[in-house]
Amino acid sequence: MLDPSASNGTPRIGFYICHCGTNIAGTVDVKAVAEYIGTLNGVVVSREYKYMCSDPGQELIQQDIKEQKLDRIVVASCSPLLHEHTFRTATEKAGLNPFFFQMVNIRENVSWVHTDPVAATEKAKDLARAAVRRVFLHKPLAPKKVPINPAVLVVGGGIAGIHAALTLANAGKHVYLVEREPTIGGHMAMFDKTFPTLDCAACILTPKMSAVKSHPNITLWTYSEVSALEGFVGNYKVQVKRKPRYIKEDLCVGCMECVTACIFKDARFPDEFNVGLSKRKPVYIPFPQATPQVVLFDPETCLQLKKGKCKQTCIEACDRECIDFTQTEEFKDIEVGTIILATGFKPFDPSKTPYYGYGTYPNVYTALEVERLVNASGPTGGEVVLRDGSHPKAVGIIHCVGSRDEKTNRWCSRVCCMYSLKLAHLLKEHTGAEVYNFYIDMRTPGKGYEEFYDKLLKEGVHFIRGRVAEVTDWAMDAKEEGKLIVRVEDTLIGTVRRVPLDMVVLSQGLEPRADAQDVRRLFNISCATEGFFLERHPKLAPVNTFTDGVFIAGACQGPRDIPDTVAQAGAAAAEALALIDAGHIELEPNTAFILEEDCSGCKSCVPLCPYKAISFLEDKKKAYINEALCKGCGTCVAACPSGSIVQNLFEDDQIFSEIDGLLSELAVSGGGRL
């Protein structure tokens, strides 16, 4: 059955099957598998054990290697993506080359997805047998080592990106912080107070923003986007597109003389930072603490840029001569070893829930608008004035807008309960109005969060448990005339209520940014079904991605609040530091090489390689693979007509024997030829 020439002498294989508590043993008859594999050619030891990944489990392997003189190890347990490294290390510690190991996935691929114990056990046997057959042909290999560039790219300048950048910079690493908007600060800069402590968002954020600007280890590029990326962990080449501000950034001191001098005497364009609640001029600084303190010209509204015709009063006003209408896009090429993505979220668009009347009734607001409305530096100086100029006497806050809904976003956005409570407190404090919270379930899991809820209850805020069905303006009696009417079942009392209000606040959920799919493609990572970036493991690798060297932090991975975002940003920075400080990276030695004597020189492999790792040696008329460039996809191997390319770890013979191993019992009973 076996090809003895493929390995050195007769291999001595040890097979270990893991119960994983009842995770595997509850479905797969591990004992039967172990007994069966024990009968196979070359298998010297076949054991079952409760937790193979535990220390005693690993010691079991190591002891057997030494005592039984094993030279091949097969472990049937969970996914290799989880524990392959663990068992390879264990194998190596016992003095064996770590690549004389093969892993069988009988948890994710078997016990967790099948219910019939008989069929699951048969499948586990097939998979284990295939691994035993494959491991026969394994060869000793050494992991590939590449040096790592210590510079880090951080994408996104919200609180996550700011915190990650500062952590890395403080550790002495150079950081490129790239932000799409003209200023860093992200959503947090727009908030008034933060829950549950009610400290002012700007007071805790702006010192960090200026620290970023002044840090010698941070290169800050705002109004910029990553436009291209190539390379792999340790050595990424990044191209950053810098959009023109029409201002010489290094000269501008943010004196705003140009803004005052602008030909538009009145601000008349919607101000992005105040979510359209105030106006700005074509030349502006987003908000007083914007970082960098540099103005920019909006090409959509500036007369000179749009029409090419303007008196250019701004240029006259600028004595430092920093205005430059000839500026164009600029591209910067940088090299980094690791990348942290902190691109944040998008608030749910309430026009997708037309029954709440946003856009129809002027006094229906989004939560983000209200953050600006209660903010002392906001468009109304913190006075809650409605769009019709009145002051509200009754305010309703509708939770879960766009969240927990099959038709919009299925997930709970996690932060809305708490920020709704915060806004309830602030609105009551600012206006003295009656405030109603309409919620489905009150979710306050966090340090000091339940206590905050308790505080609100004592403040006399109303809590009505029920998802609002509609916000309308048709009145049933005189008291309802001119009001917004919320119709809702008070599910705790068991009756339908109509609550007349002057102001309705929609607690919009959090969703992935509109371009999340483009960003994930650019950085070669995945998105989960809802569109947030996918972490490598939901529990054990929450800031890692499936692409080595690319980490994620903050709400781009899923809805989260500021404390969790900062914790994640710190974790991502630490993960990057761990890679950098190791000095080099160990890569899977799964590169390909050419068997020169067999190569016919047909050149069909050369254009296949996306990394240009294959060249043609004109003198020898043979192909040649530069192992340093090869990333180990194996596409050239499959294409070589003469079979003269070999991929380490995935040799043809190894895969053939895996196929044969899977089906061998079948072929015997079917009377086929082997």
Binding site: S79, P80, L81, N105, R107, E108, N109, V110, W112, V113, H114, T115, D116, V118, A119, A120, E122, K123, L127, A130, R521, N524, S526, C527, A528, T529, L534, P538, F546, T547, N590, L608, P610, K631, C633, G634, T635, V637, A638, A639, Q647, F650, D652, I655, F656, E658, I659, D660, L662, L663, S664, E665, L666, A667, S669, G670, G671, G672, R673, L674
Partner: protein, 170 residues
């Protein structure tokens, strides 16, 4: 296969399907299906490769020859390949292979290529169940058995020819 009879005579025949899943997308998706406990048919055995571009047509032929009733290949969606374009190469190669299998009389539903991203655990479940249903409907392929018969036929023919040769020699 002690418990899953493989000859078509028995009513409880179960198909055997060999799958080649790329490490980055489809294999990860299968893991996700596992973590999410998405139950599906137990007939598919997965072989992990780094990229769908690594799948040599010979692997597929070998699987059929050794008794597989179906072969499934899973890779990243176009534009998502971890190695930029391995999946395009796979797609091109597989189109050719499909034609060849058709000529060999192997039904279309027995060989399938699917793009399944790392987040599409549910798609693994759907594809596996659907393929198992379709292959079940087709019944066993039984190439090893057919090879056996062909071998016997050949032997028979050779024997005949041999007799002739002997006769000539005599």
């Amino acid at each position: 296969m002690t418990n899953t009879p493989t000859n078509g005579k028995s009513g409880n025949w179960e198909p055997h399907i060999v799958a080649f899943f790329c490490n980055w997308c489809t294999y990860t998706a299968a893991d996700l299906a596992g973590v999410s406990r998405m139950k599906h048919a137990p007939n598919v055995r997965i072989i992990r490769v780094m990229c769908s571009g690594r799948v040599d047509p010979q692997f597929v032929l070998e699987a059929f020859a050794k008794g597989a009733d179906g072969v499934l290949i899973g890779g990243c969606h176009f534009g998502d390949c971890h190695y930029s374009e391995g999946n395009y190469k796979a797609a091109r190669r597989i189109r050719m292979l499909k034609r060849m299998l058709h000529d060999m009389g192997i039904e279309e539903d027995r060989f399938r290529l699917e793009w399944i991203s790392a987040s599409e655990g549910d798609k693994v479940k759907l594809v596996v169940n659907d393929m198992v249903d379709k292959v079940k409907a087709l019944g066993p392929l039984g190439l090893p058995g057919r090879f056996n018969e062909w071998d016997k036929e050949m032997e028979h023919l050779e024997a005949k020819a041999g007799v002739k040769e002997v006769a000539h020699a005599g």
